[in-house]
Symmetry: C2
Subunit: 295 residues, 2 copies
């Protein structure tokens, strides 16, 4: 019997990411001795019981975290401040407190002040997901070959960090450590801005006249379809991400808008070299992704 | 032996679309008795000969179209005016002259004036493609389950239209007829604008500092990747499309930009209802696509 990285893991929130961790813990040895699941609604927990991937369900987050060696916040980032306040007194000394949120400065801001001195706070962000949500949508291999970024504040216990790295690596992820502010800027361009754009263009299309709207759906194959996949993501999760990475997102949108206006100008005035140059650069980026096996 | 829709088909341009038509004609009976391929470069034609999907290759477009019952322009739309002028005197009386370009008003503007009275001009646009280009990239099933939109000018011979419809339907496509101006506006939002956005965001990311650029590639899985697939398309083809659907594209970009700025304002001021509402609309559009089997 392999000694697990954590004896007891409490998952606060059990949607796509939480339920994937629970399933991975069931499938891959050495992750967790016991999985405790918490959700905001009893309905979700009833479904978790039916699906059978948790050892125990607790509707009270404080009860869920009691005695856990690792507590992972897996709910939308907008819920973290209130959750942290509620669970803080129940955290076990020496436990690792972490999360899976897509914004890291906000997590440090919202959770940090509540973390007891003897608890190790290691914010994390697994770059994995699908357009589906809820406890039914998770699967054990979601993190295989994906990255999990850790943004521990300066001075965080090294053993806690390496324990959490090992946990993610056993789920098949690669891990890297970086500064939270740097993380937020980088993720703003690779994830948050593409989502904002995808949500927006769906709305722009939906505002067209009735006849055209139907056609947009019918003829979506020519590019639009690729945008709608990411636009199908969970509304509350994404609302919280946008609001909690506001500055970096607005800056990246500002840059993008300038670039789109420059392209519009080139189209208006027939600047063929400018247009071709931009398209060629895009191709090179795609090529790099293929070489890095990220596409 | 089935009588083919067209005895001889001349393909002017033999990239992704042209070579897919040639391959389909080889594979599916009843399409064409003979395929003549034309390309701008001898290198491309040599490759076509090696690949063996054409009955004959002609470097001179006028020779390629001579005696053809159907001539299909499959090169970038920016080449059509010059090509039309060159091939017009060689077109066979009663032939169907068509194309596969993504902009239809420009085709009527550029090709229309050269079309002899006894030739049937039926502009068309198969909504199909991949991010690959060149004669190696085509395949016989590219059009299966896809749409081909026909935009014949008023008064076009009905037999010519229905012959071309049959040709596309035998390749597995569904066909519809519409006005060219309407086509261009609708395709601007479902295809041209998404491509412009994808090209632009790749450039915005590429302009970031060296360190971040490497990370953008590394962590692209979170959304950016979906944009880069369509950004890998052929630069000359897309340059020509943008320049030849300028007005509709700039109008749709204008609408999109307004909507993106409204979303930015909601993010800045924390307007949670606005953000959630927009994301929920996007989800519904994705759901409609799934129901229409377009996603």
């Amino acid at each position: 019997m392999v000694e697990p990285v954590f004896q007891r893991v409490a998952l606060i929130g059990i949607g796509l990411i939480g339920s994937s961790i629970a399933r991975a813990a069931q499938e891959f040895p050495g992750l967790a001795g016991e999985i405790v699941a918490n959700a905001r609604s009893q309905n979700s927990l009833d479904r978790v019981t039916e699906l059978g991937f948790a050892d125990r369900c607790e509707i009270d987050p404080a009860k869920a975290v009691a005695g856990a060696d690792c507590v992972i916040l897996c709910s939308p980032v907008g819920t973290y401040a209130e959750l942290a306040e509620r669970i803080a007194p129940a955290l076990k000394p020496g436990a690792v407190l972490t999360d899976v949120g897509s914004t890291k400065q906000s997590v440090i801001r919202d959770v940090g002040p509540f973390v007891p001195q003897d608890v190790h706070f290691v914010p994390a962000h697994p770059i994995a997901g699908t357009e589906f949500s809820g406890p039914d949508s998770g699967f054990a291999t979601l993190f295989q070959g994906r990255w999990c970024l850790l943004t521990p504040p300066p001075g965080t216990d090294e053993a806690a960090i390496s324990g959490l790295r090992k946990f993610w690596e056993l789920m098949g992820a690669q891990t890297a450590t970086m500064d939270a502010a740097h993380h937020d800027r980088m993720i703003a361009i690779v994830s948050h801005l593409p989502h904002l754009i995808a949500f927006t263009i769906c709305g722009t299309a939906d505002d067209l006249a009735d006849e055209t709207r139907q056609e947009v759906l019918q003829y979506a194959a020519s590019g639009f379809r690729d945008f709608t996949r990411i636009a199908a993501s969970d509304p509350v999760m994404w609302r919280d991400i946008f609001l909690n990475n506001r500055e970096a997102l607005l800056e990246m949108l500002g840059r993008f808008t300038e670039d789109a206006q420059a392209m519009a100008r080139a189209v208006r005035w027939g600047d063929t070299n400018y247009i071709e140059d931009k398209i060629n650069r895009s191709r090179k980026i795609r090529q790099s992704l293929i070489e890095l096996k990220q596409a």
